[in-house]
Subunit: 66 residues, 2 copies
Amino acid sequence: MLPQLPDFSLTLEQQFDLHKYQQLVKEIPRPELEDLLIKVIRLKMVQENLSKGVIKNCLIQQGDPK
Amino acid sequence: MLPQLPDFSLTLEQQFDLHKYQQLVKEIPRPELEDLLIKVIRLKMVQENLSKGVIKNCLIQQGDPK
């Protein structure tokens, strides 16, 4: 059986936050905006690594015969 | 026992990419930069939701008596 498709939707709170950011972003000076983009990309990379670690651990533990 | 601290470091490849982005970001026009920031934040939110789903599934399956 194929695995269930992941849910790419945002929660209501996240949609609200994103809408707020879309307004805020216009008021940020250019250098800060560049800095912010790099920081968010960095955070995303770290989160990706952490997720991979968690999934790996999960698969290892599920493979353990109990 | 306390859980192991997560690893917040980037891989060499990610460090290289981030450095490249730091140069590229200076050449992006302001409106695109704003748009890009919002898109990356959105991606980060989706990734967060997916990770939570995976961790939840993992915990549920580990709780299952086999």
